[in-house]
Symmetry: C2
Subunit: 397 residues, 2 copies
């Protein structure tokens, strides 16, 4: 088949940090890196039409295998011509393996741990029934039906979904387990990754590329072992998974630690991270792509992203606050998004008070455009050799 080959080229490095500017080519177009991947979890950006996301200049979105295999089912997506056609998105896409959700819902609160939220309260849901060498046996959160997710099934489902970039099936190890469990889990993840790779190669026609996942929690030797494992196998790219620590500071440290071990010839994705300062720290340590529901979730709750240096160090303003009741200025006078160009803070505040969905929709447009502009700023700073200065401006208060 005459399909554009997947390539990853680094076009600019950075003198004093590991930051790099690159271009990741896929059959559905290029991704300029560093970049942010927007989350269409269940096959839809929450409250944002695909065309409106495209208008922000976003280059890539992801969908979640776990959600889509349960509803509508991979065969229905395939019947619709795959995710790109179903969602009317003609740019690159990524799907995860489903592992994160199976284990996150099973162990409880993994996402909170990974992102270093202090108010983490571990609890076990009843959805993860069994983890064996074969894979994970779980209950659907929708209708209680029982399902297996194995490396082979995950890859088969991701083939049907048809995203450009697909991920190996791994166990997402929580933070509250000990080193011994983390090591055993990592070893099993590696076996699962090899099975994922074997299944992927069975039907590899060049339309999809597979990322390995680096596990090992907060343990340097384990992360090194896992990074070597990924580098020594035939993966197109690599994602950093598993626990990054119990606090935001530890998350930054763990990413820095992992970056010492990683194969820097491959594209590097940091799973589930998307705060503004977290992204700057990630880029400094060589991360090429990020994903997170944060910008869109924040929007639906009334939060509009803004440059922390213009807002006393805070990454957003909360449009629910009564101080915006009579504020007829736009959210950000320097922003070129549809929301800032046409509507006042006062109006958006009113929409949230009146519980009008349009408020969340307009803020989602702003936050998406904000992320696109943020990544443009980061890329330009690497190109022009000003990354370190920009890093300071955006992260130090």
């Amino acid at each position: 088949m005459a399909i554009e080959t997947f390539t990853f080229k680094i076009t600019h490095g950075c003198k004093n940090t590991m930051a790099r500017r690159g271009v990741l080519s896929t059959p559905h177009g290029i991704i300029n890196t560093p970049n942010f991947i927007f989350c269409a979890t269940k096959g839809a950006m929450k409250s944002l039409a695909t065309a409106d996301l495209a208008a922000t200049g976003a280059e890539i979105m992801l969908s979640n295998t776990y959600h889509l295999m349960l509803q509508p089912g991979a065969d229905i997506v395939a019947m619709n011509g795959g995710l790109h056609k179903m969602l009317d998105w003609n740019r690159p896409m990524l799907t995860d393996s489903g592992g994160f959700q199976v284990f996150s819902l099973g162990h409880g609160g993994v996402a909170n741990e990974i992102k270093g939220r202090r108010n983490f309260s571990p609890h076990c849901s009843k959805t993860l029934l069994k983890i064996t060498e074969e894979g994970a046996f779980f209950r659907s959160y929708i209708d209680g039906t029982k399902h297996w997710l194995t490396p082979e099934i995950s890859i088969q489902v991701q083939r049907k979904l048809g995203a450009d970039i697909v991920l190996v099936f791994d166990e997402c190890t929580p933070f509250h387990v000990d080193r011994k469990y983390t090591a055993l889990s990592m070893a099993r993840s590696h076996r699962w990754e090899l099975r994922s790779l074997a299944e992927f190669k069975k039907n590899d026609n060049g339309t999809q590329a597979l990322y390995g996942i680096i596990q090992g929690g907060i343990y340097g030797d384990l992360r090194k072992e896992s990074a070597d494992f990924v580098a020594n196998n035939d993966f197109f790219g690599q994602a950093i998974g598993g626990s990054l620590g119990g606090t935001k500071a530890q998350m930054h440290e763990t990413v820095e630690m992992i970056s010492q071990h990683i194969d820097r010839s491959l594209p590097i994705h940091l799973l589930g991270i998307g705060g503004i300062t977290d992204i700057w720290h990630g880029v400094k340590n060589g991360i090429d792509t990020f994903d997170c529901v944060y910008p869109t979730r924040l929007a639906r709750h009334g939060g509009a992203l803004c440059a922390p240096f213009s807002n006393g160090g805070k990454e957003f303003i909360n449009l629910n606050n009564s101080c915006y009741r009579e504020d007829i200025s736009p959210i950000d006078a320097t922003c070129d998004c549809h929301c800032c160009q046409h509507f006042s803070r006062s109006y958006i505040h009113h929409l949230f008070k009146a519980k009008e969905m349009l408020g969340g929709q307009l803020l989602t447009i702003h936050n998406a455009r904000f992320m696109v502009r943020l990544m443009e700023t980061i890329r330009r700073s690497i190109e022009s050799g000003t990354f370190k200065d920009e890093f300071k401006k955006w992260t130090i208060f």
Copy 2:
């Protein structure tokens, strides 16, 4: 002030019915009639961005004085430059007087009665505290604060909101009251209409035009008296308000009855009616404009409007139904809306199953475009002398 004068010109009549094609000019542009007015109740179309409504070809939207005077308040809207500027809508707008909501919430279920829904169950809410000659005293549904709405206050609020077409303050008489109450209420509404007109004239600078409201319930002599009252006073247009009967059939009959008495030189608006067959019946009886939340509410519940003659007499299909799970055709292959051009029934069904807001957003676009195309079809049929044939095609099964 050099502002475009309000005019209403009838360009085409209809040989066998009272249907007419006209052009209503306002300072914010023209409305081709017959036409449909979309409801931005609280200053926002539910789940639809103003720009997306404009893209459907919609020519006019309305907002509700009652809701806006309570949240965000008329002064805040004025501070934002008025409704047009706040909502970023550069086409004609209408505001109602607030009367309908005050009395509807007070009497309970007036909307259900007017539209002839059989499952009407009268109940009294605690929001309407007192009706006096002065006006209505009511409690805010938001925070329980007490407010007066009088003819003078309604007009003053509507001045601040700044819509092109504004309405007199009337009592919206429910169906379950007797002839005597209807007659007394109508007489009071007439006194309120004269006070509304006097208040309107105090600050009339040509930027707004006032509609009178014809009351009288289902009683022919009262409707005639009320139609004469409106015709004999200096209103730019007229709206049909109050009860139209207890069933859909009676609603059609009542509209037909009223049409015999009405001043046909003025534009005629039928308040709160928007079903497909109801619109055809209304146009047949000379109605120029309609408004209703039906198309947008239906969309949020999974209903996509379609021509009844292509759907066994039904006005919509319900995308929640499992028959659409594997249906990869568009909702309507003949529709040029963003939803039908880009997405499958299967995908929309999935969005509703997955409780993704985007499902309602996309169906709202479809239903809005459907209404715009319906009104175009009606206007073209009057222009070309085929109204009677089209009427049959759309209403008889």
